[in-house]
């Protein structure tokens, strides 16, 4: 019932025990590699690295995915104008059948509105996709669509937090920080969790990648894709005053003095951890800028992604995933708007077309690129917003929020490719078949990563917390 606080200093016995038992399976090898490269400490002692909160931890069971890329679409993309094709809209346009007569945020009372976009079938799966996602459409045979998502409230702020934290208030840890808490990171020279967006941060800002009450090491580091500065991701990453050689000499002296001090104390895990952490910090200074250096990509790759800011984020996401970052959250935004897809209120046609154009090619390229590099199997990609939009119209050309039903898709990470799970009603208003709440989605993501959402707990303010609160049901059917 009481599990040990993972951050309490370990006794020597525990250290040895852990070395032998649990950690062999994942990450240790890459971790050792990471520590040997980059001019590691001469004194060796790898064991103390295990005191690092980001040291790789064994999952609860064999994982399908090792990493997650979340392509977050804040503002609420309209399901019936993107991936949830509803031909019935045409036949009943202008009508308001009882089934869609549900309260929306702004209490819109209009009838059904036909999508301004054409849909076509793609791939072997014959999946219908709207014309605003021509590139993603070509990858549909890799995608697993969940058409039956639903969430609690139709307000952006709360629903965005629900999507990223599993809670309506900003007081809980984010999905990515739970993942790092549960699994550690496979690269000790980079943060375990990186959040990115072009210019505007999604509403709620830091809370969306925050660690709340989890230890600070699990906080997401934020990168603004528009500027792409490596030292943004880690503060004080760069030593602006000393050349490498001088820095190295300084670090060596520090290690020597710390060793003398440690000898006098005979034994102290925390002191040992301090020595290790300093060495890691030293290596990070060089590993992080390398990740950001897109000039190392081939011309072909760069062309495949295209040159939108979001696409740049997609490419960066792949580079991070490749280096063992556990979770990348890449939020969409154009025009510096924190809930980009909300342009749907007044103008689905113009707003959604521009937004899709800004991300379509990059997303498709990311899927292809991950597949080509053999990374897709171990990487779970999740696309979606905090809710969807009503099939009825708001004003003349818009759609109000719809939290009763919306679409999310996944790729890689052991999910079945080319399938659709769950369904909304015939007009796309509410999830009716195989309904999936956001908590269920979270439970499923954790499951893919080898974590039992009911067992991934953290004791805080007198009780154990989970990402899924008291809910969540893994959608087992979508896994291969």
């Amino acid at each position: 019932m009481f599990h040990r606080n993972p951050f309490a200093p370990l006794t020597r016995r525990e250290l040895l025990g852990r070395m032998g038992a649990g950690f062999g399976s994942i990450g240790l090898a890459s971790m050792m590699a990471g520590s040997v490269s980059g001019n590691a400490n001469s004194n060796g002692a790898l064991s103390a690295n295990q005191n690092s909160p980001l040291f790789p931890k064994a999952p609860h069971f064999a994982p399908k995915a090792k990493r997650v890329i979340q392509l977050f679409m804040p503002g609420g993309p309209s399901q019936v104008d993107t991936f949830d094709h509803k031909p019935a809209l045409e036949k009943h346009a202008g009508q308001r059948p009882e089934i869609v007569n549900r309260k929306t945020l702004r209490n819109t009372k209009n009838g059904l509105m036909v999508s301004p976009f054409k849909f076509q079938q793609y791939g072997q799966s014959g999946k219908w996709v709207s014309d605003i996602f021509p590139h993603v459409a070509k990858e549909v045979d890799e995608l697993c669509f969940i058409h039956s998502m639903h969430t609690d409230i139709p307000e952006h702020a709360g629903a965005i937090l629900m999507f990223n934290l599993g809670h309506l208030q900003p007081s809980r840890p984010s999905l990515g920080s739970w993942l790092c808490y549960g699994l550690g990171s496979e690269n000790q020279n980079l943060p375990g969790f990186v959040a990115m967006s072009p210019r505007a941060q999604p509403r709620g800002k830091l809370a969306n990648w925050g660690n709340a009450f989890l230890p600070g090491a699990y906080a997401g580091s934020y990168v603004n894709i528009a500027s792409m500065k490596p030292d943004q991701i880690l503060k004080d990453l760069k030593n602006s005053r000393l050349p490498y050689g001088e820095q190295r000499k300084q670090a060596d002296l520090l290690t020597q003095l710390n060793r003398i001090h440690l000898e006098r104390q005979k034994q102290n895990d925390q002191l040992e951890s301090g020595i290790q952490a300093m060495e890691m910090a030293f290596r990070m200074q060089f590993a992080v800028p390398d990740t950001f250096d897109l000039t190392r990509e081939s011309k072909q790759t760069l062309e495949m992604y295209g040159d939108s800011e979001y696409a740049k984020g997609c490419l960066l996401a792949r580079r991070m995933i490749e280096r063992g970052v556990r979770c990348v959250q890449l939020s969409h935004s154009i025009d510096g708007y924190d809930i980009a897809w909300d342009t749907g209120h007044g103008d689905i046609k113009g707003g959604h077309a521009r937004l899709a154009k800004a991300c379509d090619q990059g997303i498709a390229a990311l899927i292809k690129d991950l597949r080509n590099r053999g990374l897709l199997d171990e990487t779970l990609v999740v696309w979606g917003g905090e809710f969807g939009r009503a099939p009825t119209s708001e004003g003349k050309n818009g759609r109000d929020h719809d939290h009763y039903g919306f679409t999310v898709w996944m790729a890689g990470g052991g999910v079945k490719p080319g399938i659709s799970y769950g369904a909304t009603d015939e007009f796309g208003c509410s999830a009716v078949e195989n309904r999936v709440h956001v908590h269920d989605l979270h439970a499923t993501i954790l499951h893919s990563m080898g974590l039992d959402h009911e067992k991934l707990t953290y004791r805080y303010s007198g009780r154990d917390y989970r990402l899924t609160d008291v809910s969540g049901k893994v959608i087992r059917e979508i896994f291969i």
Partner: protein
């Protein structure tokens, strides 16, 4: 929604009520409810009506037996958001709409489900046809239900024998002064503390560590009491006294530092963790600033420095506005500085949830912070482990539901009146001026010469008044009473679904079955008295335990904010109670420090010992002092102190300037922990997020901290300042290194340390940065500077 679609949605969703916080996830099998007791309830309500009788005989028993496990307030997991405990609930239905349409069995979801036509209910097995027919009949005759039974049956099943419950768990029992176990003594003990500690050690074949060396001890005492390192001269003096008469040396240093004003700053900060103190800014939905928060911080510092009686210290923070003068009201910042959540778009569920979260903050801070009891767990259901019924949660919530937060004046009445009068004058004149201008506008004309003169005069008067305005009187965030009504139990934590009325009164686990309802206003003063009462076994234990934690690095109960059944047991229960008795007798927190710090236990060295470590690696029995890392405040203050830059001015508004030379206590902090540069620095070094009362800070050692130490301009600046200080002291490198070690570590360097230093600073430099500066940065980044023995 059509029937068929709604049926599908129930079937597949497995929905639960959302937006309610969870109980501990440790799902120890919680056997749902003694459902039978529900049966007793009902019968008395009937009036001989045939329908009712039919319901009681044929329907209710089935509901209780077959449905309530998933569809009642006591369900372990409520399914489909559907409650079946009273008629309104059934008519209203769950996530899929009404469960029955009265008079229309064919259209009733419930009937379809029982027939396994659509849903298959109950899932454990289809009910006999006869029973399903009974339900059909019942719906067709209008679903009769006892009329008077409108309140839902909430937690009716849980019955507490309060007297028994209060004896069952150690922390709920009264504190009885234990006798000091002197029988098995050694030469080691110095006061009562040590006898208790020695008893546990000796019975576990452990020996206390040797007394610390003077240089270590003086450093420990300084950081402990004032959060600052001793100056080299102070070290020398102490070491000399300590070698002659250790007891007197310790005792006089402790006395001296307890009288230092910086004592309040150090221990005030510890208390601010309990108070989840911040300057506001909790992020959206809770984004307001708390510009006067610092008044409460200064109040705490001052209260500790003045050593106000312990009971008063507690009481004023709950109900200072109802007890003392204006200054006393500032103490209620303890609760007033918490979050006040709002809804973003006014969605009614969201509004209710925001209110519920706000109330929960007050209850959580009060109960965990002051009494080590997790009452918040009883927000949605009876506490699963501790004897706190949901009803009691709403008894407390009622107090805070009648309590408001405002920025109240803390100046003298005359000062407030003077300011207000002055403002009124300005307003009057401004209104007069407005009227005139409106008149001109309305009459579409220019002012006459006379009127123009009036306008000019008015403008001049207003300017004059504004110039001479007395300063705005000081304000602080404080509580005030706003009403005196009871709340109703919120079913599953949802304030929109209410149940039985919860009288405002104290927790029955402490007050017993006969807990008296609060009578005055919100009841907050009575609540304060109950919390602070010397007879309350929790408040004293929790406080003493926290004090112990800060002296030793670990508390006697290692879950300092949870003394309930899920908390740890005390390692030294008798010692804890003995200290509580001492505190209650003296009422003096400073006396408590004296008692602890003059013990031989406190004086033990932190030296590692492999045998003892094998035996008790966690040092639960206190065979040595725990080595510790400094918290971020002490570490940063020490950095500024050893370079000679620290500004020791006390109190006043906080600063977010990272280059501030003031003590770290005066940094601005946001509740969200991400708004200010100061937040980011603090959080990097384990400053906790101030969203909820903090039991203990974690200690994380991560590379980001070293990037800061090695590369930040703040650290570069400190290195430069230290290097300048050293250079000024002497021309001789060895002498400079000597000084550095005495300043930073309170000890002279060893020969190898001098040699390494000299070699480093006399090197041919590759960079533009001075070698001494680089060397100083190394010393400031060292473990020895960051860790305490």
């Amino acid at each position: 929604m059509t029937l068929s679609t709604s049926l599908k949605s129930i079937e597949s969703s497995g929905d639960q009520v959302k937006g309610i916080p969870s109980y501990p996830v440790i799902h120890v099998c919680l056997v749902a409810v003694s459902v039978i007791s529900l049966c007793f309830w009902s019968v008395c309500q009937t009036k001989g009506d045939d329908g009712i009788e039919f319901f009681e005989k044929k329907i209710r028993p089935v509901l209780v037996e077959k449905c309530y496990q998933c569809h009642s307030g006591d369900a372990k997991k409520l399914k489909g958001g559907l409650l079946l405990e009273y008629r309104e609930q059934i008519l209203k239905g769950g996530d899929s709409g009404p469960a029955i349409i009265s008079g229309k069995p064919a259209d009733s979801l419930l009937i379809g489900s029982l027939k396994w036509d659509s849903l298959e209910m109950p899932p454990s097995g289809k009910l006999p046809d006869g029973v399903v027919k009974d339900f059909e009949h019942w719906v067709s005759i209008g679903a009769p239900w006892p009329k008077s039974e409108k309140t839902p049956i909430v937690n009716a099943a849980t019955v507490y024998d309060w007297e028994k419950v209060r004896q069952e768990h150690w922390s709920f029992r009264p504190v009885v002064r234990p006798s000091i176990p002197t029988e098995n003594n050694s030469e080691w003990e110095k006061n009562g503390v040590d006898y208790f500690v020695y008893k546990r050690l000796s019975s576990n074949a452990l020996r206390p560590a040797e007394a610390s060396a003077g240089v270590d001890l003086v450093r420990r005492i300084y950081f402990d009491l004032v959060g600052l390192p001793p100056m080299p001269q102070q070290v020398v003096e102490f070491v000399k006294k300590y070698s002659n008469n250790p007891d007197a040396a310790v005792s006089s240093l402790v006395d001296q530092l307890l009288e230092s004003r910086h004592y309040g700053e150090r221990w005030g900060r510890h208390w601010l963790d309990v108070a989840r103190y911040s300057d506001g800014f909790g992020g959206f939905n809770d984004g307001s600033a708390m510009p006067d928060a610092w008044r409460y911080r200064d109040w705490v510092v001052d209260a500790l420095n003045r050593d106000i009686p312990f009971g008063e210290f507690i009481k004023l923070q709950i109900a200072g506005d109802l007890i003392g003068d204006r200054n006393a009201a500032v103490g209620t910042g303890f609760l007033a500085l918490g979050p006040t959540y709002r809804s973003d778009g006014g969605d009614p569920d969201s509004v209710a949830q925001s209110k519920s979260e706000t109330l929960d903050d007050r209850i959580d801070t009060l109960t965990r912070g002051l009494m080590g009891i997790t009452a918040s767990c009883a927000r949605c259901h009876d506490h699963k482990f501790d004897p706190i019924p949901q009803l009691d949660y709403y008894s407390l919530a009622g107090v805070f539901n009648n309590t408001g937060v405002h920025q109240g004046p803390i100046a003298k009445d005359e000062e407030v009146a003077l300011y207000n009068q002055h403002q009124k004058k300005i307003n009057d004149l401004t209104n007069r001026l407005k009227q005139l201008n409106q008149q001109f506008k309305k009459e579409k004309r220019q002012a006459t010469a006379e009127e123009a003169g009036m306008v000019a005069e008015l403008n001049q008067d207003i300017a004059e008044l504004k110039k001479n305005s007395p300063p705005k009187f000081a304000t602080a965030h404080m509580l005030r009473d706003t009403g005196s009504s009871n709340m109703k139990v919120a079913i599953r934590g949802d304030l929109r679904k209410t149940g039985a009325e919860a009288p405002r009164r104290f927790l029955r686990v402490l007050a017993g079955d006969k807990a008296v309802p609060f009578k005055n206003g919100s009841g907050r003063l009575e609540l304060a008295e109950a919390v602070a009462a010397p007879s309350n076994p929790l408040t004293g234990r929790v406080f003493v335990n926290r004090v112990w934690q800060h002296h030793f690095g670990n508390a006697l109960v290692r879950t300092p904010s949870n003394l309930g059944k899920l908390g740890e047991l005390p390692t030294h229960p008798e010692l804890l109670d003995w200290l509580v008795c001492e505190l209650m007798d003296s009422g003096s927190i400073k006396e408590l420090h004296r008692l602890i710090m003059n013990s031989a236990t406190y004086r033990m060295s932190a030296q590692f010992d492999s045998d003892s470590f094998q035996n008790d690696g966690g040092n639960r029995l206190l065979w040595r002092m725990n080595p510790r890392r400094l918290d971020v405040e002490a570490w940063r203050d020490a950095l500024l102190s050893v370079t000679g830059e620290l500004d020791l001015v006390m109190g006043g508004p906080p600063s977010e300037d990272l280059n501030s030379r003031r003590r770290t206590l005066y940094f601005k902090t946001s509740r969200a922990g991400d708004r200010f540069g100061s937040d980011k620095l603090l959080r990097m070094f384990d400053f906790p997020i101030m969203r909820a009362t903090v039991a203990k800070r974690p200690v994380s050692i991560v590379p980001q901290q070293y990037l800061f130490m090695l590369n930040s301009s703040f650290m570069n600046d400190r290195a430069r300042a230290l290097s300048a200080r050293l250079k000024k002291s002497s021309e001789d490198p060895a002498a400079r290194i000597q000084l550095a070690y005495r300043l930073l570590y309170g000890r002279p360097p060893r020969e190898d340390e001098i040699n390494l230093g000299v070699k480093f600073v006399l090197r041919q430099d590759e960079a533009k940065v001075d070698n001494w500066e680089k060397y100083c940065q190394v010393l400031l980044c060292s473990n020895e500077f960051f860790f305490l023995q």
